[in-house]
Symmetry: C2
Subunit: 353 residues, 2 copies
Amino acid sequence: MAGMTGPDGSRFLRACRREPVDRTPVWLMRQAGRYMSEYRELRAKYEMLELIKAPELSCQVTMQPIEAFDLDAAIIFADILPPLEGLGLKVGFEAGEGPIVYNPVRDEADVLGLASLDVEEATWFTLEAIRLARRELESRGLPLIGFSGAPFTLACYAVEGGSSKDFTITKRLMMGRPDLWRQLMDKLTALVGGYLRAQARAGAQALQLFDTWAGLLSPEDYAEFALPYNRAVIREASQAGVPVIYFSTGTNGLLELVARSEADVVGIDWRIDLGEAWRRLGPGVAIQGNLDPVALLADWPELERRAAGVLESAGGRPGHIFNLGHGVLRDTSPDNVRRLVDFVHQYHFEEGS
Amino acid sequence: MAGMTGPDGSRFLRACRREPVDRTPVWLMRQAGRYMSEYRELRAKYEMLELIKAPELSCQVTMQPIEAFDLDAAIIFADILPPLEGLGLKVGFEAGEGPIVYNPVRDEADVLGLASLDVEEATWFTLEAIRLARRELESRGLPLIGFSGAPFTLACYAVEGGSSKDFTITKRLMMGRPDLWRQLMDKLTALVGGYLRAQARAGAQALQLFDTWAGLLSPEDYAEFALPYNRAVIREASQAGVPVIYFSTGTNGLLELVARSEADVVGIDWRIDLGEAWRRLGPGVAIQGNLDPVALLADWPELERRAAGVLESAGGRPGHIFNLGHGVLRDTSPDNVRRLVDFVHQYHFEEGS
């Protein structure tokens, strides 16, 4: 069983601190989701935002993969957009369109007009879901991960008004009005920092920052327009005494900058060899990743071969948390997830490898 | 004026061979396109495929940016999908949907059922457009670039049936049926190799391979399922005696593998410092790139600062071809394009830098 000696001594939290563990810990981004029939049944009755805003339902979804698989951590079921309501933005999800911000931030008046509501009030439902889930996880000795969008990624949605291929409106504002950009990012940084601290107080034992769109930036722009704000929220979250994971995709050209985020753990995508990424990040961080989510759609022997490849790339060194390089895809077979999790736990590294 | 002493001695072709040049050569991916009113006027009268399949019109579009700006090379106006008709696939473009393959390749019967039509017959319109454009460019001393989709990227469209975020159907076939994948890739490799040679015979003086979706692959998968086929088509194209440019995006985690493609020039996206990318690729290749296309939407001082950054990153070493890290965006101002091209030509490197 996962867990070892209760959450503080759990494999997952020990690995976050790069302490030796008996088995490589494993959890999966989007481990609760449409690939599970239990989730689809709930989604047939409730809209996405209804699930997120009802703490009992969020808690229930959070626990679905924990009940089905031998995972080493739960992650609270929530979404990165609702906290933007703390700035007075109106968010929603439209079928086929994905996330929407109905009143996007496009100019000086929009930036100056952003509210700064009490973050705990604006996100009460997720904080309450964290309290509920912690209680359920306690008896299993499993830790709970809270999360937030990183300031840059939240800015992408806030400015663009939804998802996009290039986020040109956002990047145009960033390049053209760096003064405005900084004001917007300062507000997002305060929001995210407060939200992460509130999650830790509510019971989250680790915090993951999702920087989904960081891979749209050149190294120079990342260093100037995203990294300082990541560092600020990570410092603030670290003061709560919990490890922070920084996950981004498409950033394999600027991992040396990612390493400067001061995160305890860096999550990487599958488009780089894990061992090479770890060398470039340096020995001061733990690493999370990085199986291609499509591998979970393959037959078991192929999936097994690929999972072994990721484990061997990490070489059994303390500080590897097995995960995918992105979220679980909806066509994934739960049986493959079960076998993958068990395989990671049973994997035996050769002596001296 | 661009060109120096006729196309063979042109800045662009000299830079492809890493020979010293008087000024850094510059051309832009998608330099003919919707950002130009001349192009929009034609598109109001003709569908995309009508333009591509009428050699006089393709030639006319090819020349539009050459007449407007002091570019160092033209690239034939065409698309990567129509050559797939040489395998019996039916391709089209649907408004709002992008490229479509109406009879995608999904299983063994589909792969075995692929035709191998005469590639010159299947692509006669682009080959004829190349002959026409060469004639017009000759008097200006400017070289013409031909191009093709790389085998992996063409496989993505052929299997998926159109564009996609993750191309999971394609990658699932690749992982699950590597035997079938190899058969498909062999057919695509023969098609692309023949198409590139035919373009060189028709008058193209350089050939670019677009591997738009290579960034979906892990290093291991790239090495096994894409690289050998790239190398094969690049070797075949090289036998025609023209330089080959290999362009991909999202591959900054596996540039060392990209370097093994045996291309003369490697095109990179903007998500890595150009100097660092060149170090990782090694001194044996020229490099093309890598301004963020969004920079062309900024005001001139900001665009100038960013263009200078790219040039300084290359350091004035022989073998840099200035370009964007991806295609020109449709909101780009032609005036910015003009100023950018002139700026690159006038840029003065400090001695000894």
